[in-house]
Symmetry: C2
Subunit: 189 residues, 2 copies
Amino acid sequence: MEKLRKHIEEIIPVTDEEFESIKPFFTIRKVLKNQYLISQGDEAKYEYIIVSGIFRVFYLDDDGKEHIVQFATENWWMSDYISYFNQKPANMYVVCMEAGEVLCLTLEGREKLSIALHKMEHFFRVKLTKGYIALQQRIISLLSNKPEQRYKEFANLYPNLMQKIPKKYIAEYLGVSRETLSRLYSGNK
Amino acid sequence: MEKLRKHIEEIIPVTDEEFESIKPFFTIRKVLKNQYLISQGDEAKYEYIIVSGIFRVFYLDDDGKEHIVQFATENWWMSDYISYFNQKPANMYVVCMEAGEVLCLTLEGREKLSIALHKMEHFFRVKLTKGYIALQQRIISLLSNKPEQRYKEFANLYPNLMQKIPKKYIAEYLGVSRETLSRLYSGNK
């Protein structure tokens, strides 16, 4: 829970008393490699703040092809937000690629915290703003057909993950072949 | 300004006194057809809430090819948010397709309003949440290679714009040819 406090205080300082009232809304959960936190068809009950580990959020199309929406690691937030915010069945999967721990927060908890503490509403708004920017960047990257640019944006977004994520998934995220990825790697060393 | 109040009160009611303190942060601006509100290279100083009119947000790649990020109409918000939030030069263009009016808000105004009024911080958070969901949906739509699905999502997102936006731009948004678009239209009547 100390990590949670640090995470919040990167945005806004809270008093001990405030933090005591915030803590009960979060539950901590260990996640094993290959374990799924969200599966298509289930309702996404939680959003997850990653304490440690690496995760992959993906979408399976009607032909069973996987499309990676995002990777997520320490301090990132993730969920199927369409499902989470609308309380509808999920369209996406969230799976663990490297074992770790996450903090879980329900939508009800999120709303209650926001109403109770202006500081928490601020915290959520700022985090959401950062998330919004990341998504707009992902859209531009998807719209552009330049593998070099996608690669550059990926390296920029996930500087710590380049060596940790199997190349197979990076190629998939970028929408390029393994050969093209190797060329991009060697060109950017 | 009455529209602004209505727009805010769709999320949270405000008193007359509160609204008087909110109003000065917004300026109203008329926009003509083909007029640009944001151009690549400029800093996006404002976010815009659309009172009336239709707008197109697009990105121009290095080859000069246009990629449509979103359309926007009444009550939608738009900006180059990467530029707006980070105070960096814009990568995108915002252009008017049908003349109208917008309410302009600076980032400084946005932050001041959020700090001064918990209600406004709430309002921005809720709007941002809706925007976040729309972007996540756009990403899934882009990742999926099914024109039918993209078309369905487009129709769902912009039910009022189907007849108002030139087909050329709809085809571009969906990443399909004019012929494919005609087929999708006739198949969904």
